[in-house]
């Protein structure tokens, strides 16, 4: 009784280096040509006991002219077709292709090529389309076998039934001497209990070799030992071509499976099959070939390798950046919301030393939406202090906002960065007739940008420039982070949230030595001033125009501004987060947990530092009822009268003091001044 033999096909496995080499060749060599070339694949000599099938692998060396030999690899001859369009890939007649290639293969064993190089019996077709921009690779492997060759199994037994242990050792020693092109297919003869391995060339070019002998047609089984690899069918076709006399007869085949037995390589898993060969008079032009590989869904169809995460350098960089943040999440801050950070949009008003420093720190935190506004161009003195600019930017006089946005993209291609060049209208800077339309547009643009962003950073080089964004952001209840520099001092603060009617917040219990201010009661940058911002540039010598600072100050302040924004963003109450400050000196044990922190710790209202003494403290100040920027009087006036009100302020800053009902200086008692927190040190602050 004989039963049809069943086969296990190979399984393809592509090394990522294959795809990167293909992209390289496509760009440099193939260009837009359709490619039809020979490549190499390989399979492994030693069986991997863990795998259900044997693998055919391709990698970057597949494109070499000669097979790059490795002792444990079995060469595979490959026909590689790379179409130039996805349509060609799809419409290509797969049956015609495999038949045509099958015909060429038959030529190779008719003209003697296979006889000299039996490894050609192991062959495959690889059809691809490479979308190199998207890093998408469509591909389909075929391991072709002639459909007409059907084989029946008469019996099978383990190799040990016909080969003694000693003979197997001899066998392996002889096998090791074979050239790699001979290892996959040969003929084994037993002569007086000695093992003799005869190459196909030797066997079929000399009638006497097989005469009166019972040969074992031997093939390296490209399947785990319990099954037979489908390559046997091409081997049988080859044998019948050279020995038609064997058609319909029985013959012995040795399916060689090399496995690791402790440290030795053993043949013990090999199987001897007695097979009934088909009655086909050699395969010819009309033979149908089969063998296209099924895809991962077990369908007859191509596969798609999406290599974007593996090969796109920009995506790889983004993955590495993300990993740093994820490590922070996994190890230290399990509750940090990285998605929220990624989705947060930041508007940086000012692209100078502070803007550059803030932007770089935000990038590190995983912020990926950054917009700059600045009215200036990069000047030759900028690059040494402003970390996003180069000398080249200065030579080209690039607008700072755009140069900073471009620079961010060079640092981190995944960032969505934009730059806008315009001047933020300022109180006390009258708008002439000719600039009216332009100023209107600038107000609209600024309003739109504040509306569309989540965190507004005020990093401008003048006090009055901060007024309009402070007012608009207050009116829109946006998170505002403000940073200002002195020569050797800095102020970093967040603005309190504007609410028309402040609900009395629930009383917070504070540990001894601390006081807290609810986020809805915290002041803004202007709350500590009692004069309206005027033209601070007027009539000042250069060194007092707020532009001279110790170089490290902006880096420190910029970093603090970014960190403060993150702490606030991660606080449960967002911008309404309360601020704590030390009310008594010498509080020793700071128990942060009791102070309603965010997951990143405390969220102070302001941070004031002095480099001359390397001191820093974090006071909190309440809203000033008559603040010229965030008080209810001013915000309501802005909401009611919009641009009309703004233009009045631009033309005359004193108008602000009237709207805000700022008490006359004479009306204030000395204690009032103290209470509002006016600080000589900061009221006339140099700002950058």
């Amino acid at each position: 009784m004989s039963i049809p033999l069943s086969y296990v096909p190979l399984n393809s496995s592509v090394n990522p280096s294959f795809w990167s080499k293909l992209s390289e060749l496509k760009i440099d060599v193939y260009k837009s040509n359709e490619i039809d070339v020979v490549i190499w694949g390989y399979s492994r000599l030693i069986e991997n006991a863990n795998l259900p099938t044997s693998l055919l692998e391709v990698d970057s060396t597949s494109f070499n002219k000669e097979f790059s030999d490795q002792e444990t690899y079995i060469p595979f001859y490959g026909k590689f077709i790379n179409t130039n369009t996805i349509e060609k890939f799809k419409s290509c007649d797969k049956q015609l292709l495999i038949n045509n290639e099958g015909m060429k293969f038959v030529e190779r064993f008719k003209n003697g090529d296979v006889l000299k190089n039996p490894s050609l019996l192991n062959w495959f077709i690889l059809l691809t389309f490479a979308d190199i921009k998207k890093y998408h690779y469509y591909y389909w492997f075929a391991f072709p076998v002639p459909q007409s060759v059907t084989i029946e199994k008469v019996s099978s037994c383990n190799i040990s039934e016909e080969f003694s242990d000693e003979m197997m050792i001899d066998f392996y020693n002889e096998f090791k001497k074979l050239n790699s092109i001979q290892t996959s297919y040969f003929v084994t003869l037993k002569i007086n209990n000695l093992v003799y391995l005869s190459s196909l060339y030797e066997t079929f070019s000399d009638e006497s070799v097989l005469k009166d002998r019972e040969p074992y047609f031997t093939f390296l089984n490209l399947s785990p030992s319990s099954n037979v690899g489908s390559q046997l069918r091409t081997f049988v076709a080859f044998i019948l071509h050279h020995r038609p006399i064997l058609e319909g007869t029985k013959a012995k085949f040795l399916a060689l499976n090399l496995s690791r037995d402790k440290t030795n390589i053993s043949l013990k898993k090999s199987t001897i099959y007695t097979l009934k060969l088909p009655e086909v008079s050699s395969i010819d032009m009309s033979t149908t070939w089969v063998g296209w590989e099924k895809n991962e869904r077990d369908n007859m169809g191509p596969r798609l390798a999406n290599m974007k995460n593996t090969l796109d350098p920009a995506v790889m960089a983004e993955i590495s950046n993300d990993l740093n943040l994820k490590l922070m999440k996994w190890n230290l801050l399990p509750n940090i919301d990285l998605q929220k950070i990624k989705a947060t949009k930041c508007l940086l008003l000012g692209a100078g030393t502070l803007g550059c420093s803030v932007a770089r720190t935000l990038l590190g935190w995983g912020i990926r939406n950054i917009t700059f506004v600045d009215n200036a161009v990069v000047s030759s003195s900028n690059p040494v202090r402003q970390s996003l600019f180069t000398f080249q930017d200065a030579l080209k006089s690039k607008p700072k906002a755009q140069a900073a946005a471009d620079s961010l993209k060079l640092i981190c291609p995944g960032v969505n960065s934009n730059g806008y060049q315009f001047t933020i209208p300022m109180p006390g800077h009258p708008v002439g007739e000719s600039l009216l339309m332009q100023t209107m547009e600038e107000i609209d643009k600024l309003t739109e940008l504040i509306q569309n962003n989540d965190i507004i950073f005020l990093l401008l080089d003048s006090r009055e420039g901060r007024w309009l964004p402070t007012l608009i952001a207050a009116s829109k209840q946006k998170m505002v982070i403000n940073a200002a520099l002195g020569f050797d001092s800095y102020l970093v603060m967040r603005h309190g949230v504007y609410e028309p009617k402040i609900q009395e917040p629930k009383a917070m219990t504070c540990p001894a030595g601390f006081k807290s201010v609810d986020g809805r009661k915290l002041g803004c940058y202007f709350c500590t001033d009692i004069v309206a911002p005027g033209n601070s540039m007027k009539d000042r010598p250069l060194d007092q125009q707020c532009t001279v600072t110790r170089p490290g100050v902006s880096q420190i302040a910029g970093a603090l501004a970014a960190e403060l924004s993150l702490s606030l963003l991660m606080h449960e109450e967002q911008i309404a987060a309360p601020a704590f400050y030390v009310s008594k000196q010498n509080v020793n044990d700071l128990e942060i947990d009791k102070l309603n922190p965010s997951i990143l710790g405390l969220v102070p209202h302001s941070i004031r530092g002095f480099i001359s003494s390397y001191e820093q403290f974090s006071p909190a100040t309440e809203k000033f009822t008559n603040c010229v920027a965030c008080s209810d009087f001013v915000v309501r006036q802005y909401r009611d009268f919009g641009k009309k009100f703004l233009f009045e302020v631009f033309n005359n800053s004193k108008h602000l003091e009237e709207v805000a009902k700022v008490p006359k200086f004479d009306d204030l008692s000395e204690s009032d001044i103290y209470e509002t927190g006016v600080d000589e040190e900061f009221s006339d602050w140099a700002i950058q």
Partner: protein
């Protein structure tokens, strides 16, 4: 501090001995040498295909190709084991995905133990068994083993699916 590090010269000596054994066993470890002008210019690699099963769901399994790198880390002055993993189509398996398939590490602080670092020679990101733990393991072997690199590898390899044949240990 007790000396628990290995010089680069010794590392090269140990990996050469390792390679000789591998060649005898046909174990497929390969020596890679880059620019001769750089001192840290040699490392071993080996590809190994593994059927990864998800411990939580045995039906979830993938054929994964590991490419292991045995490299010297100059800053820590110890050997490190790094690797990349990819699926059959060549796409990379991420660190988080691999953690799902690796129950060996679940008892440890995975994020500290197996992380992504830059390859010490190639300077490209690669999964790495963090070298700060290497001291601990290496310390004992430096006194007792003829090849501390192999001894150390035999301890750590099992955590990341790398099969190391017993034959290597005989040389220690």
């Amino acid at each position: 501090m007790e000396n628990s590090t290995i010089s680069i010269q010794d590392f090269h000596k140990y990996i050469n001995a390792f390679l000789t054994i591998s060649n005898d066993l046909l174990d497929e470890w390969k020596l890679n040498t880059i620019d001769q002008n750089i001192e840290n210019n040699k490392f071993l690699t080996k590809k190994q295909v593994v059927l990864l099963r998800n411990p939580a769901d045995p039906d979830l399994q993938i054929i994964a190709t590991f490419e292991y790198h045995l490299v010297y880390n100059i800053s820590y002055a110890v050997p490190v084991l790094c690797f990349n993993i990819w699926r059959q189509d060549g796409s990379r398996i991420t660190l988080e995905e691999y953690w799902n398939y690796n129950k060996n590490l679940h008892d440890y602080n995975m994020h500290d133990t197996l992380t992504q670092m830059d390859h010490p020679v190639l300077n490209k990101p690669i999964f790495t068994l963090h070298p700060c733990k290497t001291y601990e393991i290496l310390k004992e072997f430096l006194k007792t083993s003829k090849n501390p690199v192999i001894s150390w590898l035999s301890v750590v390899s099992q955590f990341v699916h790398l099969d190391l044949l017993e034959e290597y240990l005989k040389s220690c």
